[in-house]
Symmetry: C2
Subunit: 333 residues, 2 copies
């Protein structure tokens, strides 16, 4: 007997469930109806779960990567597998200390490609000073997986945790840079569309650590994009978020690719950016600090009493930005 | 330019590389020639890596599971994904405190099977008191993965660590029970061979913790089986290990399946057993404590000066047991 919505509604798993949008969000809640046991851990619905070690806190997270194509402008599956997980530890306010790396590889996969991926992983690891400390490699028969899948998990340590539910009315919403370039590049490569964009895939440990004490919320808009992030923050913090159409953090080329392919701009993922909720009095200071890393960092909206996420249009109207739905962009990360 | 043996020898990845035997072992060493950076972590070649937190030690490990069939006598992919990772933390002497869970699911996978798997994961989690605290779910297009793949990572805490390299001449080798039943069951199901065996898949936190202070080495003979475990211990501890043919820890049915299918008995994996190296004076005591959990626990061999792993035959000869080679048993865990 099925006990929850996701398990009732469909007789088989759909792509939508892995999209990072509404269906993923519901599935996660339904899964937790079965798996209720979380022991002493906190933040088990956030980007990383938190365990109190007494004198400090342990952050723990995981992510599976099935990006297609494996190599793209600005990165590859190895780089994204490292950055994605390091970033999920970072947004909690923790400093990542180690990564686990698991490969599932299709028999016949070219060793030169695997070597390229491993070197890419190694580079992120050394640059970010987050070692890969444990791993596993499985190989499946030809045709039983598409090329390669990577899962990374990360652990980090923090004195103070930034949760996903701390946004307060009066806060400003800040983006650490322009968003959606990773999604735009993957789509452009798939549809053979020429663009100068490259993936925004990168780590941002120093950026977050430099402003951590000011952040009420910090999240990276990966799968599901800015639309997912803001809706999650609004729901968890029980607030309303209003973006300003005049300060939307999207480059022209990202908007063009979104319009050309008819894919919701607010669902375009980034893999090296974060958004934060910060009190109005600290917002200017935080933006200034972030602009040292990326001049595009800016205030993109504000937090109000109420619920939902809205876009204030140039002519003053309020248009709802909903949790992205549908298949969105399959195999984007 | 390729820099290491695994990357030179083959132009494409073979099933052998994921077998848990000799090729896996060489690949891991070659991979570490590229990925040298391990920071402050220790035991990065053992079942779990160790980070010193000052007052205690953090253990961290990961494993990918692609077992076929997904459901088998004594377990399923969910149970094995939990037990395998919990056990890899346990053999280090650490108490597991949390698990991360990542699914990659094929579009169209039956939701009732996913629900069964999730309930199985939840049961292990509650029984072992190790919560699943963070996770990820990706869905691939039909045909891009075979049904479902699960990766789990685990973290644990320990005062004292049991390494893989502590075996000393004079030690006794102890098995916590009979071995190889998991491998035998998977093979039997694939070849439609009728057997009363069921997978030995289980956790053993209490078993290890009860005798941890006596263990010089502790390892679980999963992929690669007893042959891999003993060769790894002999190599890392720089000792010779001699098993006694009269006390081999294999049930008749496991031996029969090995002979029938021509698969090396010493490569048969267990998913709920461990072997340990213990000083001769403590061996009897340790076996007695372990027999409270499993009456089949016993001394199976001893550690001597020298190198290599050998089987002392009933008529007194010494036959080498080598690191298992070849494709062994694909998709066993």
């Amino acid at each position: 007997m099925s006990i929850s919505k996701s398990f009732n509604k469909n007789t088989s798993i759909s792509l939508e469930l892995g999209s990072g949008g509404k269906a993923s969000w519901e599935f996660f809640k339904d899964l937790r109806k079965i798996m209720k046991y979380t022991g002493k851990w906190k933040n088990t619905g956030d980007d990383a779960a938190i365990y109190d070690l007494g004198n400090q806190k342990l952050a723990f997270t995981t992510d599976a990567f099935i990006v297609d194509p494996l190599f793209f402008k600005g990165g590859d599956i190895g780089k994204i597998a490292m950055c994605g997980t390091i970033n999920d530890v970072s947004v909690m306010g923790a400093v990542p200390i180690g990564i686990s790396l698991s490969f599932v590889i299709e028999e016949g996969f070219p060793t030169k490609d695997l070597e390229k991926i491993i070197k890419s992983i190694d580079k992120v690891s050394r640059d970010a000073k987050v070692p890969v400390v444990t791993g596993d490699t499985k190989v499946t028969e030809k045709g039983k997986i598409d090329k390669i899948e990577i899962t990374t998990s990360g652990v980090g340590l923090a004195k103070n945790i930034i949760s996903n539910s701390g946004a307060k009315p009066g806060d400003k919403i800040i983006a650490s840079g322009n968003l959606g370039e990773h999604g735009a590049v993957i789509l452009a490569e798939r549809f053979n569309y020429k663009t100068k964009l490259k993936s925004d895939c990168q780590t941002f440990i120093k950026e977050v650590q430099g402003v951590a004490k000011f952040l009420h919320v910090c999240k990276d808009p990966t799968r599901g994009g800015l639309g997912e992030n803001l809706n999650e923050i609004a729901e968890k913090s029980k607030v309303k978020i209003v973006l300003d159409e005049n300060t939307l953090p999207f480059k022209k080329d990202v908007v063009a690719i979104s319009e050309l392919l008819g894919v919701n701009l607010f669902a375009f993922p980034s893999e090296g950016r974060f958004i934060a909720s910060v009190s109005a009095k600290d917002a200017g200071k935080v933006v200034k600090k972030l602009q040292k890393f990326n001049p595009e960092a800016k205030i993109i909206g504000e937090v109000e009493k109420g619920k939902g996420v809205f876009l204030k249009t140039a002519i003053g109207g309020l248009r709802p930005i909903e949790m992205p739905q549908g298949k969105l962009i399959p195999r984007i990360c």
